[in-house]
């Protein structure tokens, strides 16, 4: 009889984490940052149609890095969960925290039980009626949730981008300043980004029901100073 190989749990978890981290680091980075009137999400994305950033609900946005089909599946599940909750109860009852908990459950379950972990990291951002109520949740491949402030960086060479964003970040910046600091952080020494390389969207406190808005074309070009 063949005996199965014994793999200690520490090694098992480490292998999976390494696998997921490698997949995520292969992609390009994405940042989410607070500005005066909301939250801006900026990522390097050469495709104009395969979005990394999208709308989940009235005040909630989603951003994912890593394997496209995996985070897109999670995005659609998020839209569904939010729309069903808003239909069944009230639009006011849909919040980022509850969505993030559900994402964390799925990711942690897949991480320890499925044949392979998901190679994704997510941001779920929510803009409140006041700046103090803005939320920036970062969900990792294993279901770890980080409640971040000011800004959040994921994917690509996240550590280097974080270092650059720390020095470029301005508290209560205008949208233009916020986008420029994000682009500066994403660019790096040997990677000069053009506006056509970027996918940008905002959750803005604009008094309307749906706060999510994409910024592209001429409007994005005008943001580059």
């Amino acid at each position: 009889m063949n005996m199965p190989y014994y793999v200690p749990p520490e090694q098992f978890m480490k292998d999976r984490a390494d696998y997921a981290r490698k997949g995520i680091a292969r992609g390009r980075a994405l940042v989410a940052l607070q500005y005066l009137d909301g939250i801006a999400l900026v990522s390097e994305n050469p495709s104009a149609t395969l979005h990394k950033i999208s709308e989940i609900y009235d005040r909630i946005a989603f951003a994912g890095v890593g394997k496209y089909n995996e985070f897109d599946q999670l995005r659609v599940a998020g839209v569904r969960a939010a729309d069903i909750k808003g239909y069944q109860f009230s639009r006011q009852d849909v919040d980022a925290r509850s969505l993030v908990n559900q994402y964390a459950q799925i990711l942690s379950q897949v991480f320890s039980e499925a044949p392979k972990p998901m190679e994704v990291e997510l941001i779920v951002a929510e803009t409140g009626l006041e700046k103090q109520q803005d939320r920036l949740f970062h969900v990792m491949y294993d279901g770890t949730v980080l409640d971040e402030h000011n800004f959040s960086v994921l994917g690509g060479d996240a550590d280097a981008v974080t270092e650059r964003l720390k020095s470029a970040f301005v508290v209560d910046a205008t949208l233009k300043v916020a986008i420029n600091s994000a682009v500066k952080a994403l660019s790096g020494p040997d990677n000069k980004l053009e506006y056509s390389d970027l996918e940008v969207a905002v959750l803005e406190r604009n008094g309307k029901r749906r706060c999510f808005r994409r910024i592209d074309g001429d409007e994005l070009n005008a943001m580059f100073s």
Binding site: E55, I56, R80, I84, I106
Partner: protein, 261 residues
Amino acid sequence: MSMPIFSAGSDPGANFSELLRRVGLSPFDSVSLDNELVIPHATTCVAMKCNGGVVMAGDRRATSGNLISHRSMEKVVQADEFSGVAIAGAAGPAMEMIKLFQLQLEHYEKVEGQTLSLEGKANQLSTFVRSNLPAAMQGLVVVPIFAGFDFFSENGRLWDYDVTGGRYEEKDFVATGSGMLHAATVMRVSWRRELSVDEAIKLCARALWEASDADSATGGPDVLRGIYPVIASITANGWSAVNDQQLTKIYQEIATEVGAR
């Protein structure tokens, strides 16, 4: 509440009502009514094409038999940025249908990353009306008008429906509800192809005035409470509802004109 994730073969896609059915929340599951119930009904709604778009209007009265059950019901509502629905029929199922329709359009837009075409939206509403047929057979009839601005043909378009979900595109104008005959006659006499948006708004107001004058289930302008019909235009700039000040002025003009004849 768990997150709705489906396997690739059985994924409901961007279809929100199918999604609701899967999670056991379908609003269309047939109800059985043994006794005749007195249910609030909504009444006259009109829509017409004009230069650069469409105008929709509806009175505010809901009736249960001979009683007025609500004075400020909104039967003309925005469906999304470039379209609107007007509903006549049983108020409860009608409001539920509008809510579900609005959600379907938004759900599609978010899941697919782009909006449905105007024709796609009209078709979707037709499916909803058809799903309501079992309830309609028991008296809970819902018949909407759908109108919006079509960016493919770059003009306003409008549709009306029958209880079986039949979808009919109208070339000029349409009226629905108990006061439809009177409202349609007013429009038939005065409607012209080149009406401006403002002229169309006034004509809609006049059509509802005449409908309320002759039909007890249609509400007229309620000056005492400051409740006026809902009138909105949809053009390439999107949905725009006429505010109460403008409505007060329009109805004062009509009252003066009618008083002088």
